[in-house]
Symmetry: C2
Subunit: 274 residues, 2 copies
């Protein structure tokens, strides 16, 4: 039994733009108790008034970690119905803690939720090196956190845009992407290592042996219409969370068939419906 029933994660690709296109309707209508946001791309004082109003009206608490290093970039947040008991920005990595890529909140009932925006890479460049370095230190954090959860009986979910498609099931054209960042062998191995360590991929566990469900489609071409997507938005959970999971879904067109981001919300249910 976990104190949170429904968790969602979505990369909004700019909360200001998304708020004009349907994010607010989605926030008003979702049954989630916790929503992790990525690519907020705004400081607290830059949030649209209508966004703040929607949060107030629907009883959301907002905690955010904007980028302090590049304005209008990155930025993660956690919305929760319950007020967080503790908030941590970053994961103790001086190289990335101020980049708006990770935020962790402790919620009432012994659940910790992390919102992650893992760097995008470009194979063979310094950007890939930075992504790999992030994975290394973040992997250390995840292992430490996992051990602490096991020791204390706490449960934890790390949700966000991982920028990694873990297997051939997780992107439409895997053959053509074997040399592209997001599907590089060492990236998949890193992700697989997390699962071997005990973390559960809550969406894949609910949908084994099927293509997708994808959560990101390029804005270019007709990628969305043709469902040429990638499953790169993941919720990883501790064993207690995994045991409680009873459903997972991607909302391809989240708000009255309108798209308001190049990513779609990914939602996991814990416990029985109702």
């Amino acid at each position: 039994m976990v104190a949170v029933r429904v968790l969602s994660t979505v990369n909004v690709n700019g909360v200001r733009a998304a708020s004009t296109k349907g994010l607010l309707d989605w926030l008003a209508g979702t049954a989630a108790d916790v929503v992790c946001l990525q690519e907020v791309r705004a400081r607290p004082e830059e949030l649209p008034e209508a966004f703040r109003a929607t949060l107030d009206e629907h009883g959301w608490h907002l905690r955010m970690a904007p980028s302090e290093t590049a304005k209008g970039r990155n930025g993660v947040a956690v919305l929760s119905r319950a007020e967080p008991e503790a908030v941590r920005v970053g994961f103790g990595d001086p190289a990335t803690d101020l980049d708006g890529r990770y935020l962790e909140v402790d919620l009432p009932g012994g659940v910790t939720v992390g919102s992650l925006y893992l760097p995008k890479g470009l194979a063979g460049t310094e950007k890939q090196d930075a992504k790999d370095a992030f994975c290394k230190t973040f992997g250390d954090h995840l292992r430490t956190a996992f051990g602490r959860c096991v020791a204390t009986g706490r449960e934890m979910v790390v949700a966000g845009d991982w920028n990694i498609a873990p297997t051939e099931l997780d992107l439409r054209n895997w053959r053509g992407n074997r040399k592209n960042s997001g599907f590089l062998p060492h990236e998949r191995a890193w992700y697989a290592g997390l699962l071997e360590h005990g973390w559960a991929d809550l969406v894949r566990d609910q949908h084994p042996d099927v293509d997708g469900p994808y959560s990101w489609w390029s804005y270019r071409g007709r990628a969305f219409d043709n469902d040429v997507g990638w499953r790169i938005d993941h919720l990883l959970g501790t064993p207690g969370v995994a045991a409680a999971a009873t459903g997972a879904a991607v909302e391809r067109a989240p708000s009255h068939d309108r798209r308001w981001s190049d990513h779609a919300p990914v939602t996991v249910r814990l416990g029985e419906p109702g």
Copy 2:
């Protein structure tokens, strides 16, 4: 008698944006024989397909002088029902000829039309120096051209965004703008000198002793709704043109009450209506 009957000028503030907002409807509906455009902000190959289609459908010839020095900036053009007999980019000033600020076409029937986008200044800065320098050399060109028209019997109209409000009648808050570029004493003196030389302000001649009609309103605040505008878009004509002028108007909301630029089209009629 002049071979052109209706001339318009309008600063479109980006032909790509304007084409999505109502410029095309206006072009399809206008009775003008010649339209001078400023701030086209596109190279020929960047023109929207729908813009080109509208020109084709309604029998417009297009001649343009994009900026070769800063992409996405400036750019003037002339649309004419008749095919131009000659086209000249710039006015023989190496400092500005490639900036997309002046284009001159000779039309059948002995009429020359110039489309002008005079630089915007900022009082007390190098930008003002550049504007003043442009005025000096452009003034020389206008005097030379005027003399040639007188000598040959040719008529001429120079239409565009002059970025100068000539008198206290030509902007809403003239007292507060005496130290601002566009209403500086030496700019007004320069403009007055053109009229003394024989050029006619075709719009002011049709509407003497009244405030406005303004042709530009800032996008900031509620300038348009409150008609806090400037008359900075002018058509200057040779005496034969001035004698033929029978009407002038600014189309505040040019296309079904929609605005598609911060400037409005300014139109002059030569000869009797019909």
